[in-house]
Each structure stands twice: as structure tokens, then as C-alpha cells.
Symmetry: C2
Subunit: 341 residues, 2 copies
């Protein structure tokens, strides 16, 4: 066994350089396999082969809803489980009691938005200006590849780890983290863990949480030519929206944390999706808004949600229509607790 | 031939009462046949049979896009033509040069909105509290049935009209009136015409126009956790929306017409549909709003549209983002000129 500490730095650099094109190629392959949350099977099959070729012990299983849904950390993304394998590859350490590490990454990506806004398309894996392009190339197939290449580099250098190195390729991170929960519940623990999220090489020991919300705003339909006989849910929404914007700013005023800049928006409240109406000439009778409500590090998730709900209801009380036709707040999909290590 | 003027009023009333259940039954049948604009074929087939059974001369044809699209009154609803028959039934008058009349009604209806908000469902044709319920029972299968029953009553009373009575059952009224345009272009003219729209028995010699608009508001996508790095199209929309609300009120201030009340909203501007974003945690990169822009009687449609477009662009200029990323206004589907007789 060669000791890493005694190795020549130029030898290490040389090995890493040699692996550079392998890393780019692997990332391109992964980006090209579409894997929006819920459709992670193909990319995991590809990765399973790759990890086996590295002679790691690969554990691959399909987590089932019934095994997860009663856990406090379960976040229901409304997607089925069963055909969405989680992969854990173990590089066995040479000393039994030595300290172990987990490298954790996810393969699922969020929807692509306007495909026309992509120069080469969302699944191109194009390599331009020293960067790989396409959904997931940064968040976080890129991170996952870093972890895999780190192991390959160590293998090539002839280093054997003292403790276990456990690489996790998980699913469903974007909607609440069912994959990582499944890995924890299957018994994968270690002395340390690095989540390979893109952070521009910054160490992030603290993270805000977030809760996905769905707001239902009621209106009353009428023909647009008599719009005063109806109540526009679009108009009423903006009343609530303004109140939520004020909530975001009041929650941040006075918040201090050593890891954040004074003026930083640590836990933003962002509306990501709205839909109202089904006909240009009908006053919309309902509006549904979905978004992300940031939860401050150290804050209690339940209390944060109550504050949100209270804000909505207080805003509703100021309006004669909404007072009688209350907006409804629903919490759905990703519910991420804030975390600090 | 019996002269209508010399007929006993109680005889007329009696005949109308006898036809009452026929009228209700016919309306129920029509309401039960789904006919959202674009899908008028089944209901027209049903009506064709009914009109033939009344011994009227029925002309039924499928208007084609190429025959209509170059006409100034053509309003493109984006729907295909070809399987959407127009029906015209002629009750021939006994005198060649006598004055003729058109009774015009449409069979298409707008989408149903929230189906759960309907007690018996949108296509029930349920008869409760002296009313028929369901999409189109008022606007305007109800009106159409009035026209048909009026002819049936006259037939039953033994009256023969001097001039032609031309009943038109048209399509595509809700999206711009292709059916009526097709009937005009096929040569159907008369000395008078009654459009059988529901007006609570009021005579409506003047009507505001309307133009359907589609507004594209650009934003910039970013993860909701870093929402300040993006630009929310939802937020930017409200700037434009407020400007449009002001436009509506400034257009009405000072407007006077003898047929309208002083404070009446003659030509409302109403947003009927909005959609933005595809993921709760992504700052929405675009918003599309569709609505109805009222055009005042006597107003020039082109000038009204320019005023709308100018308002949007002036509002955009007040914002650093929208100034560089201009909203786009599109006119689509129903473009109805204001009218006065």
C-alpha cells in the first residue's frame, strides 16, 4: 500500500490530468440520458455498469413507498416509487475500524423550461468553452462525476483507503430526497459525508430549508364583457402575493448567521408556477400558485409554515371577497428541513 | 292564409303553451350534446334533422378556411374548419318581393370551467326551478330554440310568412364568428336580422367590440433558492397588468353613449387566463396572459389596439428588465368590431 501523504504532487497532478477526458466523457454520457425526477432508471443502469467496472461493490435496489412513507423525513413528491433504483457503491477500506466517508450525489434533474432558450438543447452534453452543457451538468451529475473520478484517481495512484468510501447515486433529490432517505434507512452510515452539490468549491456546513407550497385563490367566473359581475382570481392573487413578498422581507430583517452575508436572502420565498382560467373571455374563477418557501437555518419548519399560513389569512381578511372565500394553502412535494453541521 | 293580426290572442297563447314542453325538450337535447367551439358537428347534425322535420329548406355546408381567411371580418380562432357545418333553414315566404328576416343563433359554447362547481354537471340539461341548466342553455342554444319554436308556433297557427324567414345555426361564434361570416359570404342576406343572444328581452341596437390578446412577459429562470439571480415573469406581469387596469379606467372616463348608463363599464379589459413557470422551485422565465380588450362603440379597432400596445410598452419602459426584454402583444382568435344599427 502506498501512502498518499508521501506521494509526489506532480505524479498526482499528472494522473488527474490523464483522467480529465474520462471525466468529461462520463459527464456527457450522463447528461445525455434524460432523467427528470421520476425517470431515473436509465441513467442509474448506466452508472451501475460504470461503478461495477471500477470493481466496487454495487448495491442497487428500488425503494418502496411503504418502507419510507412513515418516516418523519419522507417528502411525498407524488411520484411512484418502484422503478427508480438507488445505487450505493462501496470501496472497501483495508482497516476494519478506520473512519468511513459517504460521497452523495443525485441523478435527477428539474424540467428543462423553454427548450428554445437552450443553444444546443437541454440534453446535448455539448462541450464548449471548457464546460459541459445540458440539464444536470452542474446540478449535479457534475458533482457525482467528481466523486467517481476522485475514486478512479486514487485507484490509479494505487492508494487503498483505510476506511470505507461509500458512493451514493440517489434519485428524487429535487422533490424532497426520497433516494437519500432510502439509503439511510437501508443502513448506510459513515463518519463523514460529503454531498457533492455545486458550491464553487465553498464548504457549506449550513443550508436553509424549504417547503413547497400550493396556494388556491378563489374567484368567481363571469363573461369578460361583464367582468364586474365576476371576481378575478388573478387580481385577488396579487393581494396575497404582495403580503408574501412582505413576509419574506420581514423574516430576513434582523436575521444573522455567521455563515451568511448581512444582506443575503438566506431563505427566499419564490412563486415558481401559476395558472388561472381556461378561456380568454372568462373572468378566472380560480388561480393556483406553486412555489418555494425558504426556512431559515435554526428555524422550526412547523412554526415557519404557520407564519406563512397566517400571513395568507391576514391578507385575505383585508378583502371583502377573500374574507368570505378563503385561499387554501397546501404543502406538497419537497419539504426540506434546514440543516447545520 | 290566415292573417296574424286578426288572430285571437288567447289562441296564440294556447298554442305557445302547447309548445312549451317541446321547447324545453329540444333545449335539453341540445345542451346534452357537447359542443365546445371546434366540436359543433354532432349538435348540427341533430339540428339539421329537426329543421328538416319542420319542412324547411335546409342548406348545410362545411365552410373552408380558404374561402374566409381573406375577408376583413375573418377572425382566426386557430381551429380547423371542414368538419364544422353551418346550417341555414329557409321558410319560404309567399310573396316574392316581401321583406325577409334572418334569425341567427350559434351552437358553440365556451369551456366549462371547474366541473365540480356545477350542481348537475355542465352537460346535464337538467330542468329545475323553471330553468334548463348546462352549458349553452342560456348562451345561446336557448336563443336558438326560441327562434325555432317561434317558427313552429307560426306553422301550427297556420300563418305563412309573406317574406322569407331564414334561420341560421352557426358555429365558432365564441371565438370570432366564422360561422356567421360563412353564411354572409354564401349569400344569405335579408331586410332585417335578429341575433338571438340572451339580453333579458332588451333590444340591443349597439354592442361594444372586443379583441382577444395574448401577452408574453419575459423573465429569467433561476433556482428559487437564489431567486434574486433570476427575474420573475409573475412579478413583472403585475406591472403591466396595473397599467392595463389604468388604461381601462382612463378609456371610460368621459365616454358617453345614449344607450349606456353613465358609470357603465362598456368595454371592459379582462385577463382571462394566465400561465407561468413549470416547477415550483424555478423562478418563472415567462408568463403568458390571455384576455379580452373591449372596444368602445364608435371606436376604431386599429386605434384601440395601438393604444393597448402603447400602454404595454410605456409600462415596460419604466422597468429596467422589461425595458431590455420587451413584452410582446399578440392579437388572436376573436376580434369583434363594435357595432351599432
Amino acid at each position: 500500500m502506498i501512502s498518499f501523504q508521501k506521494m509526489d504532487a506532480s505524479h498526482i497532478n499528472h494522473t488527474l490530468k490523464e483522467l480529465r477526458s474520462d471525466a468529461i466523457g462520463l459527464l456527457q454520457d450522463l447528461v445525455r440520458i434524460q432523467s427528470i425526477t421520476g425517470n431515473e432508471n436509465s441513467v442509474q443502469q448506466y452508472l451501475a455498469e460504470h461503478l461495477k467496472s471500477m470493481k466496487l461493490d454495487v448495491d442497487e435496489w428500488n425503494p418502496m413507498r411503504k418502507d419510507l412513507e412513515n418516516h418523519a423525513g419522507f417528502s411525498d413528491d407524488g411520484l411512484p416509487l418502484g422503478e427508480r433504483p438507488v445505487l450505493v457503491a462501496r470501496w472497501k477500506g483495508v482497516q476494519k475500524e478506520a473512519r468511513s466517508i459517504i460521497l452523495n450525489g443525485h441523478v435527477d434533474v428539474v424540467p428543462v423550461g423553454d427548450e428554445n432558450a437552450w443553444i444546443d438543447g437541454p440534453w446535448s452534453g455539448a462541450y464548449r468553452e471548457d464546460q459541459v452543457w445540458g440539464r444536470g451538468s452542474c446540478d449535479m451529475k457534475g458533482g457525482l462525476v467528481s466523486g467517481i473520478i476522485a475514486i478512479q484517481a486514487l485507484q490509479k495512484l494505487g492508494v487503498n483507503p483505510r476506511g470505507d468510501v461509500i458512493l451514493q447515486s440517489v434519485i428524487g433529490e429535487e422533490t424532497g430526497g426520497v433516494g437519500t432517505l432510502a439509503a439511510v434507512l437501508r443502513g448506510y452510515r459513515a463518519d463523514a459525508a460529503i454531498v457533492l452539490e455545486p458550491t464553487r468549491m465553498a464548504i457549506c456546513p449550513v443550508g436553509a430549508g424549504a417547503a413547497s407550497f400550493r396556494l388556491h385563490i378563489p374567484g368567481r367566473a363571469a363573461h369578460g364583457a361583464m367582468r364586474k359581475e365576476g371576481v378575478s382570481a388573478v387580481e385577488k392573487f396579487y393581494l396575497i402575493y404582495s403580503a408574501l413578498q412582505e413576509l419574506e422581507s420581514s423574516r430576513h430583517s434582523g436575521y444573522r448567521h455567521p455563515c451568511f452575508q448581512q444582506e443575503e436572502l438566506v431563505a427566499p420565498l419564490s412563486v415558481g408556477k401559476i395558472a388561472a382560467g381556461d378561456w380568454p373571455s372568462t373572468v378566472p374563477e380560480s388561480l393556483i400558485a406553486e412555489g418555494r418557501y425558504g426556512v431559515l437555518p435554526g428555524e422550526n419548519m412547523k412554526a415557519a409554515k404557520s407564519e406563512f399560513e397566517r400571513t395568507v389569512q391576514i391578507a385575505a381578511e383585508s378583502d371583502t371577497w377573500l374574507c368570505e372565500h378563503r385561499p387554501v394553502v397546501e404543502w406538497f412535494e419537497g419539504q426540506f428541513e434546514p440543516a447545520e453541521t
